[in-house]
Symmetry: D2
Subunit: 297 residues, 4 copies
Amino acid sequence: MQPAADRRYVLTLSCPDRTGIVARISGFLADAGAWIVEAAYHAEPEENWFFTRQVVRADSVPFDADELRARFAEVAAEFGPETSWQVTDTAVLKRAVLLVTKEPHCLHDLLGRVAAGELPVQLEAVIGNHEGLADIVRAHGVEFHHVPFPGPDAPDRAAAKAAAFDEVRKLVDVHDPDAIVLARFMQILPPELCTAWAGRAINIHHSFLPSFAGARPYHQAHARGVKLIGASCHYVTADLDAGPIIEQDVIRVDHGDTVADMVRRGRDIERLVLSRGLRWHLEDRVLVQGNKTVVFH
Amino acid sequence: MQPAADRRYVLTLSCPDRTGIVARISGFLADAGAWIVEAAYHAEPEENWFFTRQVVRADSVPFDADELRARFAEVAAEFGPETSWQVTDTAVLKRAVLLVTKEPHCLHDLLGRVAAGELPVQLEAVIGNHEGLADIVRAHGVEFHHVPFPGPDAPDRAAAKAAAFDEVRKLVDVHDPDAIVLARFMQILPPELCTAWAGRAINIHHSFLPSFAGARPYHQAHARGVKLIGASCHYVTADLDAGPIIEQDVIRVDHGDTVADMVRRGRDIERLVLSRGLRWHLEDRVLVQGNKTVVFH
Amino acid sequence: MQPAADRRYVLTLSCPDRTGIVARISGFLADAGAWIVEAAYHAEPEENWFFTRQVVRADSVPFDADELRARFAEVAAEFGPETSWQVTDTAVLKRAVLLVTKEPHCLHDLLGRVAAGELPVQLEAVIGNHEGLADIVRAHGVEFHHVPFPGPDAPDRAAAKAAAFDEVRKLVDVHDPDAIVLARFMQILPPELCTAWAGRAINIHHSFLPSFAGARPYHQAHARGVKLIGASCHYVTADLDAGPIIEQDVIRVDHGDTVADMVRRGRDIERLVLSRGLRWHLEDRVLVQGNKTVVFH
Amino acid sequence: MQPAADRRYVLTLSCPDRTGIVARISGFLADAGAWIVEAAYHAEPEENWFFTRQVVRADSVPFDADELRARFAEVAAEFGPETSWQVTDTAVLKRAVLLVTKEPHCLHDLLGRVAAGELPVQLEAVIGNHEGLADIVRAHGVEFHHVPFPGPDAPDRAAAKAAAFDEVRKLVDVHDPDAIVLARFMQILPPELCTAWAGRAINIHHSFLPSFAGARPYHQAHARGVKLIGASCHYVTADLDAGPIIEQDVIRVDHGDTVADMVRRGRDIERLVLSRGLRWHLEDRVLVQGNKTVVFH
């Protein structure tokens, strides 16, 4: 349980930039008696767009989150119809569903972080197209669903795959999750799922994008002889490995590293990058602008 | 010359925290028509102290910097007598003086950066206790002053050293510099200079402080067998290598690195850390709180 | 099961340096038909000491590991009585025992890595002075033993603690482990255990040693205002947090990070540093020289 | 002047791999009485190729470098006709020529490092297609040659450019340099120069290759919204920005960084990456294999 003193309301907003937005928002919050504990702003000069994230102590505001939303809606309306905003309440845990295949390292890492209380999330379910990871998921007290996917030589593969994705979608959507995490899922989401889960589906790609998009990035990296390998956490869009990047990082490799070494060593960076990106998403630190992200951390 | 559109007024302020400060400041700026291009806040819960840095386009304000200061003084007065604030104008270049001895790498790096337009500073003078670096300083069009310091076996060493520091002080103070940079100066400033130059004297120490303060830090690091070596840029105080840290960084070493290798490789990190710390100081990004810094970058 | 083609013999040796050691060893290996896949050397000029690690394909040698040891013993004898060496066989898994308390993150990470096949080790048992982590350990199919330790106000605390350590020692020694990992165990080993487990007991300390040894390193780091926090993996000696360092790393923090943030963020670096140090230890990459390590990676 | 005790002979060799090469080479060196101070090996399993770099104290060998070469030639001949090897003498300084345009930061950095004795090189000349950097080069006591290149709208541009490159080639080749450094030269070398200078022409590209090859990489990086920017030091080949990579590194950027910020901040990483790559080249640490490098550091 979150102590009452740690409960926060998190306001995020983006809108066309103009003079006075900060003053209007901070004036509104001051009038409400809100005690701001974090405040970040970004003005994008090229697009002339404004972004902010403000965190206030819930116990400093003399009404609840719904009332705060209702009152702030009037302020937001002043910034024009393109304005996008939300107020979240840290007392309401975000919900996540994970999609996995056989690769266990990102799953183990996220399960461990949730068990250790490091991620502010309710893990609703894990869906795998293989059964190998079911036991460890259930040992953590989380639902596991096995949805087999057709192999490369399956008859009527397209239809079988579509049916499998339909089942995945049903199993996911029942939880109305705030995050659908492709924790090395290795299946390309169909465009309609990319649309349905826009801004909520998060992938970890095992390269420093845009280098080595697509299949077997460590093989590509090895062939090119790069001196660093990386991982990228990004929102899933219909354009493969080309969605808005949330977080990236790299580690050094050298001529002695085989592809197998890169695969093993890359896991360290995949784990870190995915968990950081997911944390920031769950904390409402990530605002999407076109194909880029503003990350207030 | 800075194009008019790039001219900025930079407001920094720190004061006891309370509700409504952001609203008051942003309201003031909005009333003045100021177009905010950067805004950062920090609330320190333990000390209950508030810090902010705001950058506005000069051409958005219908009066000059002095008038902005005069008007803002009334706002600042509302935040209590402990409030500290300033408004600087990027059209007025900061002034710096460098103190050096024989070690050339930080000096070369800073001269190169100034020549390349990377640091917003007017380099007023370089003062060295050896003459070896005079030529390259003058080739960059900068004054060089040689102030010899007594060697370890000099007769009446304390008095000679005090006299040398008196001369250094005169040569520095004539420029009323915003930054006095000890670019591997290797002489310990007397307490009265630490006081006179408080918040302006910046040192680069070749270790990751607080490890290996004092003499021969690379020897200490080698003897301990650490796997990373570092450098720390900090404000000079009377307490040796213990002033507020502005910036630190490290690089990896291994068992194959001798002390000489560490000295050579450490230079890369000394250059970077000093130039970053100095840049942030010159851009009014560093606010001191007790023995710590808030760095808005 | 390790494929036969991946089986390796790993030879490590250290001895006083002199001309011809490399030739003698490589001549021996060539005569045996051994196919070298990795070879690393280090000569320490100050101590005049020589270190090497050689990895050969097991299937290139026409006899077994014991015979290789018997034959190499004659070579090693030529390098003098101070010579230290061993030949290990990657087909014989190393054994490890973990010591834990309540902090779960390093345990979760190591369990996940073992389950994912990332660490070449047989995890024999986990011993905890609290029971909270028992279930997840057992879910991974690993023994868990609960050995309660006396609290700070327990009567006859010294005796109770000694008794607890006696029990820990028995539970550990029955496995004759190659590694005893203090995965945030938070109890100071008594000197006799440091001696008994010398070169096998591995600790993770949550600071960039030698800074902030001892208790509450993140509090110390926060108070000093450092800009990076770190973790250090080291062999345990009777001198607290002062044993030979195997691996260290750091991450950036800033003025906005509270102690609680540092604790949370530091976990990422503790996990990485411990797992890297442990891996290198298990792969016979770490040779100890006095209070320092040679790490061939 | 290098002290006699610091003089080294550096042997590098690559050849098809087979058992016994290490034994043969180390046996040869032992017979010669050579005291090995560094030894590194790499066996590339895919290509079945062997690489080594051995450093011996010159004063431990009872004959000179030419005699060492003559004797070693017989050993190398045993490894087959594809064997490539050399023996260099650190008492003979390598020679370098730099090519520059207007961007000063890499030039300043290299001049500073040479002046500080950080790079083992004789800087023979700097050739620029603009005159702006002439003064600082000459202040460092180095020849500067101005070779104007035709602008984008110059009549008969191709011929003028070819003539300019002819002049550059003459000015370079007179020094028979070991390194031709394109220190942000920004002109694409014609194929015949790539061939003539193969393995000696070193470029710094301001991106983490293979991402953002070609023109305006920081603009490309900004448009894609990456969270790290990088630089790559590579040998120049006829295939633009696709030659063997010697070194790469990255730094973190965020949504607040404009293209201009990236350009400025990227300079830090360009300087470091170029100076590291050049140092390794000068120290004979870089062996090229196809389009990749083995770097023994």
